[in-house]
Structures are given as structure tokens and as C-alpha cells.
Amino acid sequence: MNKLPELIFNISKEGKVGYSFSPVPATFTDDMIALDGEYRRNDMEDFPQLSEVEVVRHYTQLAQLNHSVDSGFYPLGSCTMKYNPKVNDTVASLDELSCHPYAPISTVQGNLEIMKTLDEWLCKITGMGGFTLAPAAGAHGEFTGMKIIRKHLSDKGDPRKIVLIPDSAHGTNPASAHFSGYEIKEIPSNPDGILDVETLEKYLTPDVAALMMTNPNTLGIFEKNISKIAEKLHANGSLLYMDGANMNAFMGIVKPGDLGVDVLHLNLHKTFSTPHGGGGPGSGPVGVAAHLVQHLPVPVITKTNDGYHAAYFNKGIGRVKNFYGNFLVMVRALAYIMALGKENIRKVAEDAVLNANYIRKNLEDVLNLQYSSKTLHEVVFSDKGLNVKTLDIAKRLLDFGIHPFTVYFPLIVHGAMMIEPTETESRETLDEFISVMRAILKEAQEDPEKLTSAPHNTPVRRLDEVLAARQLVLRWKKTEEK
């Protein structure tokens, strides 16, 4: 009853077949095999063998175990889980777009046009001088951006050593900077949850290459000193990197390029509504100020009178990704921007921020708000003063068919509950979330056990993550289950 689907390995049986494809031509006999014995494989022991219907049932049943944007509210903070328009999938699956990446440039002008157009439009939205679409995700964009900064500084003869990162930053920021060869120094935010110019100044030694700043930051607060900060950095010969993964909060309101940002990345799979795919693929284009364009990774799409080209810059950081990047994700993002048009880009941010503030207003009397600054696209509450933990509230939400907020991040908020509703949620959905949250908080007082033992209605109940890490079963093995 309510059984979980078996592992495919346990459904598998010798002799079952789930594919059908033209047989090898009869004249292509085994003696044509040109591979020496030592290179030939004899068997694929235990490899699954299923009939088509079994494959379909298996994955149909698995699909039903997933919460998804398509099935319900998913206010996972910092992830911008907005609705992914179906029409984008349709255009991305046009057969004619699916060309070979080494096809002669003259035969793929349509694809190059798509990339060039997206590049230009992202420039218009952000005010940057040029973009690379190569990075596969946000973190990859950060890495690429930091490489660009390093290249810029190296070319000037001083790569410098240190990257400053506020304590509210996403974990990818320090990791990406580290993989670019930098040492990380964390700077504290002020009591308003943002970075002070004075604090920055204290850290601003000559070997600071850059500040990596998420804006709005992971508290959902706009770094309002940003222009000042940029000035200070520039005066020190340092650069300002903006993590633009939260661009949903202010696109169409102001262009980061106008605020002094030198390098930024965007997350197409967040702000530009390409589906998150259970964890990817994403796309993390990097925009740079005009003087840094020469350092973009290869290839860069250019346009001349005789069409589109792929250019290879000598002063670039080299290659960060195979081919052109996650092209089919770019297609979706472009379709999304086209559907919005200039009329609606700003409205995305407006509605996203209205929704976040609506939640804040309706829960701030029952949940602790560590920072009272203005909320943009997301609001972060704390479990301070509650007799249950953030995790318990999160797990209890599952029982109501609502995906929890992001938990315990940012680290500077005690028991953080990071709620990002996005603009694609209706007020009715927000109202339901609010009333469920209030009900749960009431339960927390009256019957905390309901929360600590939650979830109760999910396909599996609370899973033991410690056990998973201790026993480390990372693959099925025959002996184990049969």
C-alpha cells in the first residue's frame, strides 16, 4: 500500500526489451569488427532489461512522488522557483535548432542569431557592455567572472590575492573565487543586513582584487551603498563583482551597469524562467563592463554585414565550457524575454517584490524578522523565540502540499527561513501559505510533536540523512537486494 516504485534493477529480467531499432545490416558481419579483443567488452552484467510499458510505469510513478513548480507552490528562497512557460519548451524542442556544434557557421545562422540577440538584450537589461553565454550555471558564471577579473588584473601585472565576500553570500561565491585562485576574506554585514562603506574600507587593502556582492543580497535586501562601494573599490584598483542571481528583484528598475558593477552573472534558470530540471541544467551568462569585454571566454558571437560569426578573443580567459554553452536553455530564456517584452520586464520585479512583502506583512507578527530593512524579492525569518526548529516547520509544510522555504540559509540568520514567492504566484496561493504557516505556528505551541515528527502525509516520512552519510549506499548492488 502506497508502495514506492521498485528500483529498475529489481524489475529487470533477462530477455526483456524496451527498445526497437533497425537491425545491423545483414552484410555487416562480425568479422568486420576492427577492435582487438582486449578492447572489447563481453558483458553488461545486471544492466537493466525492461519492456517499454515497465519503463513508462516506472517513471510515471516516480514523477508523482515529486513536488514541482507545475504541481504546487515552491517558495524556495534564493532559487526563484517561478513558473516555467510551456511555450518555451516547445520552441526549444524545434528540431531545426538542434544542430551540431561544429556545423559550418554558414549553416547555423539561426542559432547564432538567437545567441547574439539574447546577448544584446541581456546587455540592455543589465547595462553591461557585453556577455558571454558559455557558463553552465550561476556558480560557473561566478568562476568565469572571477577569471575575467583575474585576467584583467594579471594583464595589468598584478593579479592580487584577495576577494572580499560578505557573510551573507551564497556558498558558491567563496568556492568560485577560490577555484579562480583567490583567497577569501569574509566581511560582516551591518545590523541592517547590508554592507557598510566603512566596513569595506577597513578590508580594502592593496591586494584586494574584488568584492563579490550578491545584490539584492540573500536577505532579500538591496545593497544600497553599492554605488559608493563601487567607487571605493575602483579607487583601490579593485573590481566589483555582482552576483546577479537575484536579478528578479529589480530587473527593469535599474541597470547594475549604471551602479558601477564591473562583472555580474545572471541565472537564466531563475530570473529568466527556464525550468530547473531537478537541479539543472542552468545557464549563467556573465556580463562585463565595456573595458572587460576583451577578456570574455571563447567563443564570442559577433555580427557583421555578412552574417553571424563565432570569434575567438586573444585576450580572453580561454574556454570554460564545451561548444557554446547550454544553448537550449538560452533559447528558452530568449523566448521568455520576448514574451515579456519591455512592457513586462519591470512588472516581473514589481510583482515579485509585492508578493514577498505581502508574505512579510502577514507573518511578521508571528515570526522573528532579524533585519528590518526593506524586503525586495524574498523575506528571511528566523526561528528565534519559537519552541520548534525551522526544520520542523519546513517538514510540517510538506503535509500541506507546500514546498518549504530554504532552510538555515543565509547563515547569519538564526534558523533562517528564506521565503521567495516570485511574481508567478497568485494572491490566493500566498493567502493559503500564510494561513498554513499561521496554523503550523499555532500547532507548534499546542502540539509541537506534530511538527517534530512531520511530515506525516508524504510518500516517505522524515529521512535519516545521517544514516545515508554513514552507510554510504551510492548504487544498487545485486547481492544487496535480491
Binding site: 526483456k16 524496451g18 531499432f21 582487438d36 572489447r40 567488452r41 552484467e45 544492466f47 537493466p48 519503463v55 516506472h58 514523477a63 513536488h67 514541482s68 507545475d70 520552441v91 524545434l94 531545426e96 538542434s98 544542430c99 551540431h100 561544429y102 559550418p104 539561426g110 538567437i114 540592455k124 550555471a137 556558498g171 558558491t172 567563496p174 568556492a175 573565487a177 585562485g181 544600497k224 535599474v254 549604471d258 551602479l259 530547473h276 531537478g278 537541479g279 539543472g280 542552468g282 574556454r319 564545451n322 557554446y324 515579456l340 517584452g341 519591455k342 519591470r346 509585492l354 505581502y358 519546513a394 517538514k395 511574481e423 508524504t458 516517505v460 516520512r461 529521512l463 544514516l467 545515508a468
Partner: protein, 451 residues
């Protein structure tokens, strides 16, 4: 706008509740004039019907689909069963995010666990992660993994017949990590492969490992077994890259050859050419690399009722916990591609993969056999290729050769002079199961006509 569920009256009521008159007041912390629309120079909103028509029009500007293509080199055109297309595009798989809440993500998690298992079976390794960005970045991650694991050793050897883009990516990744060094290992132009005896001479004491590709970029299998032995003798790791995952069902598993780290590209498993992405980087390793491994891992566990379930595990390696000390900066990865690859593998099954993979080889072998009678061209490496072969052209320049075939509607292959000076007059030609015998005959005939 149909993507916005708030109505004007909702907006009005929310503003009232928040005590503001204009939504722009919410943005008062942001510098700049809020009445000014900074994106006014973008085009207007395009209705759905025009959006589709518009993309179809752009798509028609690609003339590529009209050609018979024999392009490979790290991106391969294979058959994908319809069930895989249908199942993988279910919104329930396409629209969730990383399964941070495993209780409502068992679908993705179990599918990923199954993917991990099938990848270990195919590679013969102990553990597979749940995806990396693509083959090239996986190669770079493989190199970094070897260096981390080797600790005191700081040099990586790189085979020159590794995919040139992968080399470029490894270089980008390593460039600013000043503590590390790289050295190149040439291949023997006569065999197209690394000469193990030469390698043996090069492997130094500070070598953490050697990264090579098999089948290599010239299509030829390397002697991974010998290579691994040589490396192990020097306490270094053998890192095998695979760009054509379809070779796995037909060729000896890297694990059987003693390889320590296998990285590569699994686009061949059900992902469209898609002009180069999204693809699927994979990494499979021996057990003792697990804790240094980059990328997500799904592990089995139990719920409080003792029921079997899956969770992301060993996340202490990851950036959101370890920050700059993480084994990788990767966060969003290629989860959906891996899910789809898993569906592909489950659908094709043992028999299907064996058949397809054999067909790939035999198609290439047929070509090699047939062109062997030609004098004006010659296959450079006539044994131990999988589905790609290097064809040398003797009677004209390579641009003339590919240009003439292009006029006949054939994209014959990748000119190797793009990447190798020493292969100025050669193309890399790829054959998959989607080439019918007629297609190959057509290519052979067209080449014959260039005599």
C-alpha cells in the same frame, strides 16, 4: 500578461496593506529614477502565436538540417526513443529544483540513484556522481580531483590527443591555481595513440596523474590498462576521459583496465545535439575518491518508519556547507540531463545498448573497408577505432575537400587542422546508428567522385 497571476485589484490591495501608494516605493532603496524604464529599448511583448512563428522562422535560417552530417568530435547524433522524450519532459521532472526536501522528491532522487548505478555498471567503477556540467568541465574536475587526492604531488600530465576543447578548459581551470603544473604527453602520429613506453619515461615523481581520452580525439582506443599500470607504478592516478559514451557498451570498461577516475560526456545517452548543450558531464571513480569528489551524490537511507528512501548525501563536500573549502563550486548541475540519460539507458536496456553500440562500430568499419580501395584518400588508423575515423586527403586541400562535399549536401567531418598542425589534410568522420547504409554509401560515392 498571462505569466502574472496578480490582478490589478490584488496589487492595489497589497499596496494598501503595505501602506504605500505606488509599487515603486518598495524600491526606494535603489538609486535611480523609478519613473524611467531602463529597458525601453527592448522590443514589445510578443504574443504566444507570434513567438512560435518567430522561432520557427529563425530555425529555418539554419540550413544544417538539410545536410547529411558526419560530424562528431564530442557531440553525437544518436537515436532517442519516444518514451524517453515523453517521460523526461513531464513537468514533474522538469520543474522541481535540487531535491533539498527529499520527502517530496523521491521521484528525482530514486531516478538519480538508478542513473548513478547504471553509470558505475557501464564504467566498471565503484561510484558515479549525479552529473557535472559537461565533458570538458568534467575533465577539469577530474584533474583537480586527482590533484586534491594526491596531496603533495602537483603535476598533471595531459594527453595531446585529448579533445582540444577539453584541454582548453583544463587550462582555464588550472591557469590561476599557481600551486599546480601541467605537462603534455604527445601521441604517436603513426598510431594516433599514446605510446606507453614514452609515457613511462615522462611520468615523474610529482605527477598526480595522467588524463587521456579513450577512444581518443582521433577515434582510437588507448591502452588504458597499460597506462594505468604505468601510473600506478609511480603512485599516480589514471584519469580516462570519454567523449563518446556510446562506446562503453561495446568496449572494455575503464574500471576493468584499472582506471582510477573516469570523466566524460554522456550526451550520447538520449540528449539531442542541441547545438552543443545542455549536455551531461559524468564522473565515476574508485571508492576511495568519494570524499574528494565534486558534484552531487544520491544515497540510500531509511525514513523514521524504516521505509527505504533516497537523499542527497555527503553534502559536506559541497560549497553550500564548506564554502571555499568545498571540493567544487558546482551547485546547479545537469540533473535533468542525467535523469533523461537514466531513462534512455533503462529503455534501451542491455540488449539495445549492445546493438546500437555495435552498429556504430560496424558502420565505421564498413566505411573503412570500402574506402580502402581509394588512392586519393586513406584512413589513417585502421584498427581499434570505435565510431570515428581519421581520413587523410591526398589530392587536394582539406577545405577544398569538405567544400566540395558540402556542395553535395554532405558535411563530411571535422577538419583536424583546426586542432593539430600535424594533421593538416585530414578530417575526423563520425558514424552512428542513425547513418543508414545508404548514407554511408552516399558519402563513399561522393568521396570517390573527388578522385
Amino acid at each position: 500578461m498571462k505569466y502574472f497571476p496578480l490582478t490589478d485589484s490584488d496589487r492595489e490591495e497589497i499596496r494598501k496593506l503595505l501602506g504605500i501608494k505606488e509599487t515603486s516605493e518598495l524600491f526606494s532603496d535603489i538609486p535611480g529614477d523609478k519613473s524611467y524604464y531602463p529597458t525601453d529599448d527592448l522590443p514589445s511583448a510578443v504574443p504566444e502565436n507570434e513567438l512560435i512563428d518567430g522561432f520557427k522562422a529563425i530555425a529555418r535560417r539554419n540550413t544544417f538540417p538539410g545536410y547529411k552530417s558526419f560530424l562528431g568530435g564530442g557531440a553525437y547524433n544518436h537515436f532517442t526513443p519516444e518514451v524517453v522524450k515523453y517521460l523526461s519532459t513531464k513537468g514533474e521532472f522538469l520543474t522541481p529544483y535540487t531535491p533539498y526536501q527529499p520527502e517530496v522528491s523521491q521521484g528525482s532522487l530514486q531516478a538519480m540513484f538508478e542513473y548513478q548505478t547504471m553509470m558505475t555498471m557501464l564504467t566498471g567503477m565503484d561510484v558515479s556522481n549525479a552529473s557535472l556540467y559537461d565533458g570538458g568541465t568534467a575533465a577539469a574536475e577530474g584533474v583537480l580531483l586527482a590533484l586534491r587526492k594526491a596531496r603533495k604531488k602537483n603535476t598533471i600530465l595531459i594527453a595531446k590527443n585529448l579533445h582540444p576543447e577539453y584541454i582548453e578548459i583544463i587550462e582555464t581551470y588550472m591557469r590561476d591555481l599557481v600551486e599546480y603544473k601541467s605537462k603534455y604527453v604527445d601521441f604517436d602520429p603513426k598510431t594516433g595513440t599514446i605510446n606507453p613506453d614514452e609515457l613511462e619515461k615522462i611520468v615523474c615523481d610529482d605527477c598526480a596523474g595522467f588524463i587521456f581520452q579513450s577512444p581518443n580525439f582521433l577515434g582510437v582506443a588507448e591502452n588504458s590498462k597499460r597506462i594505468s599500470e604505468i601510473l600506478h607504478a609511480k603512485n599516480a592516478f589514471s584519469i580516462q576521459t570519454i567523449t563518446e559514451a556510446m562506446s562503453l557498451p561495446f568496449m572494455t570498461a575503464p574500471g576493468e583496465n584499472g582506471v582510477d577516475i573516469v570523466v566524460g560526456e554522456a550526451q550520447s545517452f538520449g540528449l539531442p545535439l542541441g547545438y552543443g548543450g545542455p549536455y551531461l558531464g559524468f564522473m565515476a571513480v574508485k571508492e576511495d575518491f568519494i570524499r574528494q569528489m565534486p558534484g552531487r551524490l544520491v544515497g540510500e537511507t531509511r525514513d523514521i518508519d524504516g521505509k527505504r528512501g533516497y537523499v542527497l548525501t555527503l553534502s559536506t563536500r559541497e560549497q553550500h556547507i564548506k564554502r571555499e573549502k568545498a571540493t567544487s563550486n558546482i551547485c546547479s548541475n545537469e540533473a535533468w540531463c542525467a535523469l533523461r540519460a537514466g531513462m534512455y539507458l533503462a529503455t534501451m536496456g542491455k540488449a539495445g545498448l549492445r546493438q546500437i553500440s555495435k552498429t556504430n562500430h560496424l558502420n565505421a568499419a564498413y566505411f573503412v573497408k570500402e574506402v580502402s580501395t581509394f588512392k586519393h584518400v586513406g584512413v589513417k588508423y585502421i584498427r581499434n577505432f570505435f565510431n570515428e575515423v581519421v581520413l587523410e586527403v591526398k589530392n587536394m586541400s582539406i577545405d577544398e575537400f569538405t567544400g566540395k562535399l558540402e556542395k553535395k549536401g554532405i558535411l563530411a567531418g571535422i577538419p583536424l587542422k583546426w586542432f593539430f598542425k600535424e594533421l593538416e589534410s585530414a578530417v575526423l568522420i563520425n558514424f552512428t546508428e542513425l547513418h543508414k547504409k545508404e548514407d554511408i554509401d552516399c558519402l563513399i560515392r561522393a568521396i570517390g567522385e573527388l578522385q
